[in-house]
Symmetry: D2
Subunit: 346 residues, 4 copies
C-alpha cells in the first residue's frame, strides 16, 4: 500500500486527486493540507466525497507530511513547490508537483515566464517531465516529477508522432485551444463567476500564456529542433475539458489513413490515447471524467495542412489523473491502476 499525501488538497486539482485515489486499490491517502479549510472534513469542503473519504484537512507542516508519506502530490501556486521540496529533499521521498516549478529544464525560462526565482534549480536536470506517453521509462526511476500543464498535455500528445517523424514544417504550428474554466482554479474572482462565463467564449493571453514555453520545450525535444508554436488559449462555458485544434503544414502531402496508422503505432503501448478513425474528431464529452486523450485528424489537401484535434479532461489527464498515472509508473504498478472507469457520456 502506497501512503500518499496531497499538499493543497482543497483546490480542484487536489479534489480530483482525492476523488481518484479514494478508489485506487494500492494507495492510502495519509495527509491532505489546506490553507483555508484547516480542521474541516474533506467531505465538508467537497460534499461529493462524503461517506467515501474520511480525511481531515490539516495545516501544512511539510516535515510531518513527508514522514508519513511514500509520495507527496504538491498542488500549489508556482514558486511554493520548489521551496517546499528544498526543505525535504534529504528524505528522498517521491514528489509529483502538479504546478509549474519542475516542468522546465531551464531555470532562466521558468524565471522569465513565472516572474519568481527558482528555489531549487540544482535538481532540474534530474527532474522528469511527467508525460508518460513520451517519458515512461524515465518516470520509472524519477524522484521528482513535474506534472505537465493541461494545455501542454493536449498539444504535445497531439503532435509527438508527426514531430518525431519529421513530417511537418515546425514553424507552421498553431494550437487553438479551448478550455473549461476549471483551469482557472477555485479562487474567488469576478471574471470566473457563472454570470461572466456562461453563454460566451473568449480568447485570452494570446501568445503570452505561461504554458507556451513548456509546450515549446517539449516539442523541441521531440522535433530535435527549435519549435516555437503560436498558441491561443480560449475559455468556453464548461467545467471540464480541453480541445486543442492544431494546425501544421505537411512537408509532403499524405493521407488521413497514413497519419492514423502512424499515430496508432506510436501510441500502441499507451492505452490512455485513443486514435479516432478517419473523419471522426473527438469531443471533450468523450473524455469527461476520464484519463483519456482522444485524437482525430483532417487533411486540408489544398493547403497541405494537417489538422489535429486533441481532447482531454483538463483536471484528469490534464492534471490529477496524469499525476496518478505517473505515480503508478513510479511504483511499478500497471499504468491504468485506479484509472479504469470510463468517463460520463452525459
Amino acid at each position: 500500500m502506497i501512503s500518499a499525501s496531497i499538499v493543497g488538497a482543497t483546490g480542484y486539482v487536489g479534489e480530483e486527486l482525492v476523488r481518484i485515489l479514494s478508489t485506487h486499490p494500492d494507495t492510502k491517502i495519509v495527509g491532505a493540507t489546506t490553507q483555508n479549510y484547516v480542521g474541516q472534513d474533506i467531505g465538508d469542503v467537497f460534499p461529493s466525497l462524503r461517506g467515501r473519504v474520511n480525511l481531515v484537512c490539516e495545516e501544512l507542516n511539510i516535515q510531518n507530511i513527508v514522514k508519513k508519506s511514500d509520495i507527496i502530490f504538491l498542488s500549489l501556486p508556482h514558486g511554493h513547490s520548489a521551496a517546499l521540496t528544498k526543505e525535504v529533499l534529504s528524505y528522498n521521498k517521491k514528489i509529483i508537483d502538479m504546478g509549474a516549478d519542475f516542468r522546465f529544464d531551464s531555470k532562466e525560462v521558468y524565471e522569465k515566464w513565472y516572474g519568481v526565482s527558482h528555489a531549487l534549480p540544482e535538481v532540474l536536470s534530474d527532474v522528469v517531465y511527467g508525460l508518460p506517453e513520451i517519458n515512461r521509462e524515465k518516470i520509472k526511476d524519477a524522484n521528482i516529477i513535474g506534472n505537465p500543464g493541461c494545455y501542454p498535455t493536449s498539444i504535445i500528445l497531439g503532435l509527438a508522432p508527426v514531430l518525431e517523424n519529421n513530417l511537418v514544417e515546425t514553424e507552421s504550428i498553431i494550437s487553438d485551444s479551448k478550455s473549461a474554466i476549471s483551469g482557472a482554479g477555485r479562487g474567488a474572482s469576478v471574471s470566473n463567476l457563472f454570470t461572466e462565463i456562461s453563454g460566451s467564449v473568449k480568447a485570452y493571453n494570446i501568445s503570452k500564456h505561461r504554458h507556451t514555453p513548456e509546450i515549446n520545450q517539449e516539442l523541441s525535444k521531440l522535433a530535435k529542433n527549435d519549435v516555437h508554436i503560436t498558441f491561443t488559449p480560449h475559455v468556453v462555458p464548461m467545467s471540464r475539458g480541453i480541445l486543442s485544434t492544431i494546425y501544421c503544414r505537411l512537408k509532403n502531402i499524405t493521407t488521413a489513413e497514413d497519419v492514423i496508422g502512424l499515430y496508432k503505432e506510436y501510441y500502441r503501448g499507451s492505452s490512455f490515447v485513443r486514435i479516432m478513425n478517419k473523419g471522426v474528431y473527438p469531443e471533450t464529452r468523450w473524455v469527461y471524467g476520464s484519463n483519456f486523450c482522444d485524437i482525430g485528424f483532417e487533411i486540408d489537401e489544398y493547403n497541405k495542412r494537417l489538422i489535429i484535434v486533441s481532447a482531454i479532461d483538463n483536471v484528469v489527464k490534464g492534471a490529477a489523473g496524469q499525476g496518478i498515472q505517473n505515480m503508478n509508473i513510479m511504483f511499478g504498478l500497471p499504468e491504468t491502476t485506479g484509472l479504469e472507469a470510463p468517463g460520463l457520456y452525459i
Copy 2:
C-alpha cells in the same frame, strides 16, 4: 461472475448501465440490444466507452438474450417490458425493468395512467418495487424487479421516515421537483434541443405526471394510509440530477435535530443515503455521477412545516445505479459493489 444483458442499451439509462457494469467486479455484460444502432460497437454510439467496453449492439432476440444471461435489464418504453417478460417467464431468470411496467401493484392504475393494457398482470403480486432502502429484504428473493422512477426515488426516500413514524399530515404533502433534461431520454425532439433548454426553467405536467400514482402507491404503504401528494416536476438546464423540495405539515412541532436523528437511525444500514447536518441542504452537484441520495431539512416553525430537500443523480440512483444496487442484492453481493466511486464535484 454474473452474466448480465441490457435490452435497450443505447438510451441514456442503457449507457449508464453499461458504464457502471463495465467496472463491476462480479459482472460480465454478455448482451446489449438496440433498435437504431444494430451492429455498431457500443463505443461508436457512446465514444466515452471506447477502449473500456467491447460490445457490439445486437438486434433484440429475447430468447437468445435470456439464454446467455443470469440477469436482464430491460430499458424500454413502457408496455414493451411486460410483453417481453411474458415471453421468457418460464426461463426463470432475474429481470430488472427500468421502466414503468412492473412498478404498480394495480393493473388498473398502470393502465389508466399509461394508456396501454398490461401484458402480464398475473405476476404483479410477486414483483418487487426495487427501492432497496425500503424493500431490501423482498428484493433478495425477487425474480422481477420494477426499478423505481427517478422522481419517486427522490421523493419516497425523502419522506419514508416521517411517514412510517406518522409525523406529518399526509394531505399536506407537496413535492416541487427539479430535474435534469436527461430524464426525457435521447429521442430527437425540438423541445429538448440545447437552444430550448439552456438558460431557462419550466414546470410541466403539473399534477398529471405519470410518476404521481407511483409516488402515491409507495407513500401510502409507508403511511399505512391513503396518500395523494401534489407533485410538480420542473426541467432545469442541466444534464444530471433531481432536487425534490418536499413540503409537509408536522402533526407536532419538532426540531431539526430530532428529524435528523430520526433519519440517521432510519437509514443506518443504507450507505447510499446521506443525511445532512442542520442547516445544510444538498445540491445535485454533490451526487453527480454517484448512487447517493442526499437529504437535508428545514423547519418553518411559524407554519409548522417541515421542508425536506432530497438530491439524487437521476440516471444513477434514479435509474441505472439503483438497478445495479438491486442486482447486487438479488445475487447476494454487498449492495455497494461497483458503486463505490464518489461522484464528480465539478
Copy 3:
C-alpha cells in the same frame, strides 16, 4: 427629457438600468457612480455598451448627483440608500431605491431582518412600494420608491388576484422559487463561480430569506389579513430569470378557466402581465430580457390546490425594468416607454 442618475452603476442591476435607459426616448443618463471603476468608461466595464453609451463612471458625490438629476436610482447594498437619501431629502428629487431600505412599512421589521438600523425611518410612511400593477396610483405622486425585490415581484403578482378576492386559505401558501444566479450580484465569491453553479440546483436560506418579510407584508395588505408564507428560494444554473411555483389551497373548488378569467380581468390595464391559457405554464425563457411577468395555472382537484407558476426576468421586471416602469409612472409617461422590446427567445 428626464435627467437620470444611477448610484451604483457597475453592478448587474446598474448595468441593466444603463442598458435600458440608453434607448429610452425621454431620458438622458447624466451620472453613474461606482466604487471600483472610478474614471472608467462604462463601456470598458460592460463592453456590450460600447458605442451605445458614453458615460464615465464617477466617484459618488451625492450632492453633485442630486443637483444634476431629476431622478436618482440607488443600486446599493442595504443600509446605504437610506443614509444617502437622508443627506438629500431637502432637494426633493425623485428617488427609486433598488435595494431593501424603502420596502418596509415597519422600521422594526427591516432592522430585524437586515441587521442594521434604519437611517431615515421618518419617511417610511410616505414611501411607496413600487409594484405598479398593485400601487400604480400611489406611485404617480411618490417621491421615494422602494423598488420591490425580485422574488417578491414574482410571488406578489402571482397571488394578488386570489388574495384580494379571498379565494385561498392564506395559511396554506408556499412559494418554491427558482432563481438565476445573477440575483447574487457581481461580487467575487467562490460559491458563485461557473464551476460551482453550472450543472446543479440547490435550495438556500429556506424560510430565512430576507425577501420573506417583504412578501408577507405585501400579501397581508392584499389579503387584508396576516399572511405568512413558506418561502424556499433555489439557485438554478442560468443567468436571468425567476420561476415561482406557488401552492395554495382553494377555499372552494373552482376551474382553471375561472381563475384565468379572474387574472385577465385583474391585470386588464397591466400590459406587462401576460396570463397564460389553460394548461400553459410559463418558462423563464419567455420573459428573458423583457419586463413581462407571465403567469400560468393548474388545479390539483383532489387536493383542492391551486398551483400558480409565475415567471419574470429577475434583472428586468425583478429590478431595473420595474424601476424604469416606476419612473415612467412618476413622470407621467406611458408605463411601457423604453420597455417595449420583446425578450430574446434563444
Copy 4:
C-alpha cells in the same frame, strides 16, 4: 412604412427577424409563413413575442406574400429560395435571402457545394452579397440580396482591411471558429439535444463546411487574388455567438497599434464594427443580442503572425440583424434603424 414579409418565420432566424422588426420604427410585418405552425399565432410558437407581435403564421403562397410586401425575407433551406424567387421575379420586389442561394457568383461553385441545381442562375450577376461594411454602395440599388452566412460574416469582417491592404500572406490564413448551436437551426435532432451539447466542445466538417467557398469567394475579391483559407468550425455550449480566431502571417512585421489604426480607419463609417484597443480581445458576450462585430488583435512577433479575434451574435449580425441592416440601406434609411439597442451583458 415598409411592408415586410418573412417566408419561413418559425425557425430561429425567422424569429429574430420578427423580434427585431417588431420595434423597427419604419417597418410593418405583413406576412409570416411557416410549414409546421400554420394558423398559429407567432406568440404561441415563440411565447417571448406574446403581447408584442400580432401575427398569424400562414401557409406559404408566394404570390400573396409578394403582392402585399415591399420586401420579402426568405429564411428557407437552400434550394427553395431560388425557386421561389423565380416565381416572383416579375413583381420586382426587394428580396433578401437569408440562405445560401444568392451568395455565390458562380452557379458551379454553389451547385458543387450544395448538391442541388440552381433554379435562377441568370440573376446571379445582379445579386449583391449583403455585407454592408464591404458592399454598402451596391446594396443601395440591389433588388436581390444574398445575406451572408454567419461564419463568413465574422471572418470577412475580420480580414477585409489586411487583405485589401495586402498585408498578409494569403496562403497562410486559418480561421478557427467557435459557434453557438443555434446555427444548426430548430430541427429535431439527437445531436443537438441539450444533453449532447452541454458541457462539451467539438470541431466538425473541418475544411468541408459549406461556408468555406463563400468565405474564399469574398476574401479573393478583397485580396484581388485567389484565397483558399483553412476553416475549422466548432460547436461550443451556448445559444448565441460566433468567435473566429483568425491566423495569418504578416508580410512585414508591424505593431498592434498600426493594425488597430488601419482597422479603425477602414471601418470609420461602419458603426456596427467596434475595434478593440491593444490587448483587448472580444468575447461573444459583448455582442450578445446586438448587431455588432467586435474585432481585437494580437501579434506573435516571433512567428510574424497576426491573430485576429472577431465576435458576432450569429443570429443577429450573422443573420437577421444583418438582413435588416441591408433592408435599411435598400430603403434609404439610416443603417442602424431598429438596431440601436445594446446587447445583454448577462
